[in-house]
């Protein structure tokens, strides 16, 4: 274990990947979402009514934190042109005679356009503008009902006979930093662990240090356990970095979840090290194993179901997602970190991570023992 620590701190393939890159990218991921929300999104207004109602609605939308009117337009074509140029994400059209139509009991249409090619801004603009337009429509109903002599409380009920009370748990404001940074940090971590650990065993042959290793022990299980413990200690250093530096810097720290996060994190670390060591034992081609690690770890985030749910993926992608430890870690992480549930809720995910550990380490031990035996046989000859 001590020998492996020395290797980790002296070989760039280990210390850069495990100790230099992670802090940089973890802080970078936090910094990207420093503003937390997509706000003040550029939008155009096309006001053919030019009435006090349309001006009031425009002002109300401008007051909304998601919207910022940057352009005044006079046609549909202008809206499309500005969207094609990427200058606006949405537009609103008030039709001619909207105010007078409303007074005359004629229905009028307010058109809201968004650029669906940019989903996040489109949804934010819809959220901000739709709320105001719907409220405006209901305010007209309220005024008319009161004019007809309906008591205020009854008129209010008529406007909204069914009141929807919404409680959004765990991230009520849909804060992007709170949502994405922890996920990106943990996916970066699994990448670092696998990309480094695919070189744990085979690099001994490449660097001709296998002889010195075998002088300590010729038992593959002892070597695998010793090296695994050394790498596990490094992952605990990274845990300290994540939980006590990165998360608190970006106000993401949840001290009450530290213990359960640590347990789940350790299982993810062991599963990643296990996969890496298994590949490292199987192939001596360093570039090939790094290629495999790259291929295996890069898609983990999108397959995990964090941004797009797994149930909406075709079945074969769901199966592929299941063979990645990150998928199961993420399910547990959501329960323990985001939802702050007791550790027992993540037992199913922990058992799945244990399956990875239970398969990969024995395979690594068996395959590496064969290589050791072969090496010793070759030396004797």
């Amino acid at each position: 274990m001590v020998r492996e620590w020395k290797r980790i701190f002296s070989i760039p393939n280990f210390y850069v990947v495990l100790l230099v890159i992670p802090p940089i990218i973890f802080l970078f991921y936090g910094f990207i979402y420093q503003k937390q929300f997509a706000r003040e999104l550029p939008m155009a207004v096309w006001d053919e009514d030019r009435s006090s109602v349309s001006r009031t609605l425009t002002d109300m939308m401008e007051q909304n934190e998601n919207i910022h009117f940057t352009n005044v337009v006079f046609s549909n074509a202008e809206i499309e042109k500005l969207m094609k140029e990427g200058k606006i994400f949405g537009a609103v059209h008030f039709p001619k005679n909207m105010e007078s139509d409303a007074k005359k009991n004629h229905q009028s249409n307010i058109t809201l356009y968004t650029n669906g090619a940019y989903l996040v801004p489109a949804k934010m603009i819809y959220k901000g503008a739709a709320e105001i337009i719907i409220k405006a429509g209901l305010a007209v109903v309220l005024q008319k009902a009161e004019k007809q002599g309906m008591p205020a409380d009854k008129a209010n009920t008529l406007v909204q006979p069914i009141k929807l009370n919404t409680t959004v748990l765990y991230n009520p404001e849909f804060n992007y930093q709170m949502y994405l940074t922890p996920g990106l940090v943990t996916v970066g971590l699994q990448m670092a662990l696998i990309v480094a650990s695919v070189l744990i065993l085979n690099l001994e042959f490449k660097k001709n240090t296998i002889g010195s290793l075998l002088r300590i022990s010729t038992s593959s299980s002892q070597i695998v356990i010793g090296k695994m413990l050394a790498h596990l200690c490094i992952t605990w250093l990274l845990f300290i970095l994540i939980s006590f530096v990165v998360f608190p810097v970006f106000d993401l720290g949840k001290p009450q979840t530290d213990f359960s996060f640590f347990v789940l994190y350790t299982l993810l670390a062991l599963a990643c090290i296990g996969i890496g060591m298994m590949l490292s034992a199987i192939s001596d081609n360093l570039l090939f194993v790094v290629d495999v690690a790259l291929f295996f770890t890069s898609p983990a985030f999108v397959f995990s179901g964090f941004t797009f749910p797994r149930w909406a993926m075709p079945w074969y992608d769901q199966v592929y997602a299941d063979i990645m430890p990150y998928t199961h870690f993420l399910d547990g992480f959501i329960k323990l970190y985001f939802m702050e549930l007791p550790i027992g809720y993540a037992f199913p995910e922990m058992i799945r991570l244990c399956v990875f550990i239970g398969i990969t380490f024995p395979v690594a031990v068996v395959v590496f023992q064969k290589k050791i035996n072969q090496y010793l046989k070759n030396i004797q000859h």
Binding site: L119, Y126, T157, Q160, Y179, D291
Partner: protein
């Protein structure tokens, strides 16, 4: 010309002998494109599970439940009480729960406001925001139905009652992604990023191996001691291969995954060509700073997500911190994606996006100058 052709042949030999380069440059782009693309084959999510507790059990509450269940977005999972629904949410079986209080029908019939409650698990954004907008729409529709019934009872005809129910109607038109699905939004950008990352890593690793195997001087000699021929000869192979991949993605992958190119092919080809040239130059420049190909692979693995996240594709450019905006501006990916999305998704043209085109061209020239200086330095040291 002969020197360029010699370097091209030399590069072909290098790739065919090097399995890792072969894999990343020729196999990975197609494999990744189908693998990642297939995730979004269904474009959007449907049947998001929502637990429902109906304590009213009347015609009106059942109507509300049916309305929710009939939307493609929601699948109702009946629950007998709030704690059971909560437990289902904790176990990850549902994404939230909807609670209909007792006396809903009674309140509505007696013209009193009735309350319904929606509790959402927002630890994942997409299902919770889709549930929120769908449930809100259903409640507004049912509410409008109640209003219309009231006006009908007041003696108004269908037309009058409809106008009174909804005097100002909102006509929502999401352009260029009418169904507002995540897949339709992400797929074009994702395919572009796959093209970029495989090219960047492959070219960088290829250049690093020249340094690692101490062949840079030899390459310089083959080029007739011309750095520009050296860059051109090495880059031309990647350029053509990745232009073919670009065409393949635009024709085959887009058609398989149902992405329509609204703009013109010549515009798309023009901007893709400048982008690929920029990424090749950037790849060589990055590769020139590594001494080991293995190490280059290990480090560049980490570049995919940061590059994608700062381009303004997932989070609007305006919402990125100033420092990140500067970093984003230094990457060819950012101006390229702006033009590419405009052409593919909105039917825009190169002329609509001249600012970004010029931005990309400036980056290409600047990167080329840096690369030439860097190679000059390395060759002098070799």
């Amino acid at each position: 010309m002969k020197e360029i052709f010699d370097i091209l042949k030399r590069e072909l030999r290098n790739i065919s002998k090097d399995s890792s380069l072969f894999l990343i440059l020729l196999i990975a782009p197609v494999l990744y494109a189908f693998m990642y693309g297939s995730i979004y084959l269904n474009k959007g999510e449907e049947k998001v599970k929502l637990a429902l507790i109906d304590e009213d059990g009347t015609v009106v509450s059942r109507l509300l439940t049916e309305q929710l269940n009939s939307t493609p977005m929601i699948e109702i999972i009946p629950s007998s009480n709030i704690s059971e629904a909560q437990e289902k949410m904790y176990q990850g079986e549902v994404e939230g729960y909807f609670y209909i209080q007792k006396d809903l029908e009674k309140y509505i019939l007696s013209q009193k406001q009735a309350n319904v409650n929606l509790v959402l698990n927002a630890s994942r954004f997409l299902p919770s925001s889709d549930l929120l907008s769908t449930v809100t729409k259903v409640c507004l529709t049912v509410g409008a139905g109640v209003r219309k019934t009231y006006f009908n009872k007041q003696g108004m005809n269908e037309d009058e009652s409809m106008k009174m129910t909804n005097p100002i109607n909102m006509d929502y038109r999401p352009l260029y992604n009418s169904s507002m699905t995540y897949g339709a939004f992400l797929l074009p950008g994702l395919l572009a990023i796959i093209l970029q990352q495989t090219l960047l890593i492959g070219v960088a690793a290829g250049f690093t191996s020249e340094r690692e195997e101490k062949k840079l001087r030899d390459l310089y000699e083959v080029s007739g001691f011309s750095i520009s021929k050296m860059i051109f000869g090495k880059g031309i192979l990647y350029f053509f291969v990745f232009m073919i991949f670009g065409l393949f993605f635009a024709v085959v992958n887009f058609s398989v995954f149902g992405v329509t190119i609204r703009g013109s092919f010549p515009d798309l080809t023009f901007i893709t060509a400048i982008f690929i040239a920029s990424v090749i130059i950037l790849g060589m420049l990055i590769g020139s700073f590594f001494k080991s190909k293995l190490f280059a692979f290990q480090v560049l693995v980490f570049s995919s997500y940061p590059i994608f996240l700062v381009t303004g594709y997932s989070m609007p450019y305006q919402s990125l911190p100033r420092g990140i905006q500067v970093f984003s501006d230094l990457l060819p990916t950012s101006p390229f994606l702006k033009v590419y999305i405009s052409i593919v998704q909105t039917g825009g043209t190169v002329l609509d996006n001249m600012g970004s085109v010029v931005h990309l061209l400036i980056l290409l020239v600047a990167l080329l100058l840096f690369l030439m200086l860097r190679i000059k330095y390395l060759v002098s040291k070799a």
